[in-house]
């Protein structure tokens, strides 16, 4: 879960981290207007897409267009560059869907600058620790494990990794590191990335690009951020999934899957693929579903545009199958679409659950074993095509 760059920069600014002057523009004309307010050229124009916009390229060789960022040296070129960004046809986000650009972030105030380096504080899942990684301007990566506090040793090591020797710059850099770490801890974030940090002619440091990756398990503590977190899978679906604590994954096929438990879900997707099908969406209802959330889950996957069939795969280890059945039946008005709907049900109260589905006289195809259910849904979808 990430914010768009201009929101991140706002948070950085409030935390007194040195960011550039910047304003959001919604049209190329507006971009020209706001640039005047920002000051003299050059400018950075950055398309605001989560995970897409990135000022990755070096400052001196601004070959950054593929990342949705254009470095503009003269004010005269600004309009054309902004038009190019807004008009770009194929920005891709994580789920490989087209993304139209509605706003760009115009930043300025860097004339001659040298790169100092980049760094990130993050939770490292592979090594199961908190970590600070520093990348020097020459691209050398140095990482430090953090055991609960940012110690002097780590800070000294980081300064070495940046290859910063003069005392004043060291002091500014330490200040930035400490403030970024404070943000990392405050939000319980998965990552705070500052890249690159540059030094201006007057010796001051500025942050060119920033990322804040939130832990989905802590966002409820920051309700003011939730509306800012950009959707990945279409606003409504994302919102519904989040409200109901579903795990949701939009994919590229045509079979929608509702499961209870993520491991079972991924295994289901594997099996569907082995049997020649493709999955459009995977929704995990979690370990404590209610009748209402099951109904919502089914509605949500049916709202995916490319769905030709649905597989509900439930193993009731702590979840009661009859409760799941009631929830599915309650979503029946949506099922008038004539889509094949296969329900696999095994576990606690499976007989009661399966009986409810049969007695509802709704067009559920009911199975007990996973392989039978997968075969049934793949076959039904193929026949429908």
């Amino acid at each position: 879960m990430e914010l768009q760059e201009y929101h991140v920069k706002h948070i950085f600014r409030q935390a007194k981290l040195p960011v550039l002057k910047g304003v959001v523009a919604y049209t190329p004309e507006e971009a020209v207007e706001v640039a005047k307010k920002i000051g003299k050229p050059p400018y950075f124009l950055k398309a605001q897409i989560v995970g897409g916009s990135a000022c990755y390229g070096s400052l001196l060789t601004p070959d950054t267009r593929t990342n949705g960022c254009i470095y503009v040296k003269n004010r005269e070129d600004l309009f054309a560059a902004a038009t190019e960004l807004f008009g770009h046809p194929s920005w891709l986000n994580e789920a490989d869907t087209l993304f139209e650009i509605h706003k760009i972030y115009v930043e300025g105030g860097v004339n001659e600058a040298t790169e100092i380096g980049r760094f990130v504080f993050r939770v490292n899942f592979e090594e199961q620790c908190q970590m600070l990684s520093v990348v020097s301007p020459l691209g050398k990566l140095t990482s430090f494990h953090i055991d609960n506090t940012l110690t002097e040793d780590i800070l000294d090591g980081a300064l070495c990794a940046f290859h910063v020797t003069d005392e004043k710059t060291q002091k500014s850099l330490l200040n930035i590191l400490k403030k970024a770490y404070k943000l990392f801890r405050f939000y319980g974030a998965m990552a705070v990335e500052l890249s690159p940090i540059v030094q201006l002619k007057d010796g001051s440091l500025k942050i060119i690009d920033g990322r804040l990756v939130f832990d989905p398990n802590t966002t409820h503590k920051f309700p003011e951020l939730i509306p800012l977190i950009e959707s990945r899978i279409g606003k409504e679906r994302e919102k519904l999934a989040r409200e109901n604590h579903f795990r949701y994954m939009g994919l590229k096929g045509n079979i929608a899957c509702v499961v209870n438990g993520i491991g079972l879900g991924w295994a289901t997707v594997d099996l569907i693929q082995r049997k020649g099908g493709k999955v459009a969406a995977l929704l995990d209802i979690g370990t404590e579903p209610t009748k209402e959330t099951v109904t919502k889950a089914l509605r949500l996957v049916l709202s995916e545009p490319n769905v030709d069939g649905v597989l509900v795969n439930i193993f009731g280890g702590s979840t009661r199958c009859d409760l799941i059945a009631e929830g599915l039946i309650a979503a029946s008005p949506e099922m008038a679409t004539g889509l094949p709907l296969v329900v696999r049900m095994d576990g606690i109260n499976m007989d009661a659950g399966q009986r409810l589905l049969y007695e509802s006289r709704l067009p559920f195809v009911v199975k007990t074993k996973m392989d039978e259910a997968v075969r049934a849904v793949v076959k039904a979808v193929k026949e429908k095509r």
Binding site: E94, M190, N217, L251, D270, L271, T287, S318
Partner: protein, 291 residues
């Protein structure tokens, strides 16, 4: 140190009166678990489901000396509860709470390491030993007794496989859920190590996960064992591809398929067996056992 509990192992249940705690305590008691004490957020409760409820874990330890504690807490309280159990001297704690804030999960894990406590989870669904005991919420009543033990990250897939083995007439001996969240304390090695010594177990099923290094550790460990029991492994997710994310600084994007293939290679090179399809556990293991 991780150990397999028996029907004599005294269990403490923290959060016994919470909705999820109550449900699973009742099921565990019905299975025959030796739950000797509970604690609750409601300090006025003295007894629940016939189990004495104490104000603090220390009091419960003094009165009943439980050897393992199971924590049913909300994500907000889990760290505090686990810490309380560890400080009261309990040497194995099973944390059922899932979706814990990651910084807190790390703190919990580091604390357990420092204090020498075996923390299973967070996001574990517990430990179940057939015809002995349930710690947490393993639905052993749905499975048949046999000689194959299961250990894995995702509980839902563990239940699925245990059911397949039961249907195939193979049956299960123990089921250990380590937790599907990114950050968990106990990895495969201590559990497999205990299962290799367990007389009721003749073979082991391992359900891995794309994320983390635990499968590599397991491969290293298993390779060195002289007294190997057959070990069947599977990792879900090879057909999912989410590799087009913009990676963080210093990280590389890797395809799930590539990670799973690498882990498969490591495990097979160590002498483990691989199950290709998640519906084949029953058939593959039955065949393997008859050979």
């Amino acid at each position: 140190m991780f150990f397999l509990p028996t029907k004599e192992t005294p269990i403490l249940c923290q959060g016994i009166t919470s909705s999820i705690g109550a449900v699973h305590t009742e099921l565990a008691l019905a299975y025959g678990s030796h739950i000797v004490a509970g604690t609750s957020a409601d300090k006025n409760i003295r007894q629940f489901l016939g189990v004495p409820v104490y104000k603090t874990v220390s009091e419960a330890v003094k009165a009943k000396d439980p050897k393992v504690s199971v924590v049913f807490a909300t994500p907000t309280h889990a760290l505090k509860d686990v810490e309380e159990a560890m400080k009261a001297g309990i040497k194995m704690v099973v944390c059922i709470t899932e979706r814990l804030p990651m910084h807190e999960a790390l703190k919990m894990k580091n604390l357990a390491e420092k204090m020498g406590v075996c923390l299973v989870g967070p996001s574990s669904m517990g430990i179940g030993v057939m015809n002995q005991t349930v710690v947490g919420s393993v639905p052993l009543h749905l499975f048949k007794k046999g000689k194959i033990a299961l250990v894995g990250r995702s509980s839902s897939l563990l239940w699925e496989v245990a059911r397949q083995l039961s249907n195939a007439g193979v049956g299960v001996s123990s089921v250990v859920s380590l937790g599907a969240d990114h950050l968990i304390a106990t990895s495969f090695v201590p559990v497999v190590s205990a299962l290799l010594k367990d007389e009721a177990t003749e073979g082991i099923v391992v359900i891995g996960q794309v994320h983390g290094q635990f499968e590599y550790e397991l491969a290293e460990f298993y390779k060195k064992q002289k007294n190997k029991k057959p070990m069947w492994c599977y990792i879900p997710g090879r057909s999912l591809d989410r590799s087009d994310k913009r990676p963080l600084l210093g990280m590389q994007t890797v395809k799930f398929l590539d990670v799973i293939e690498a882990k498969k290679m490591a495990l097979m090179a160590a002498g483990a067996l691989w199950v290709d399809s998640p519906d084949m556990f029953g058939k593959v293991i039955k065949k393997g056992k008859n050979r």
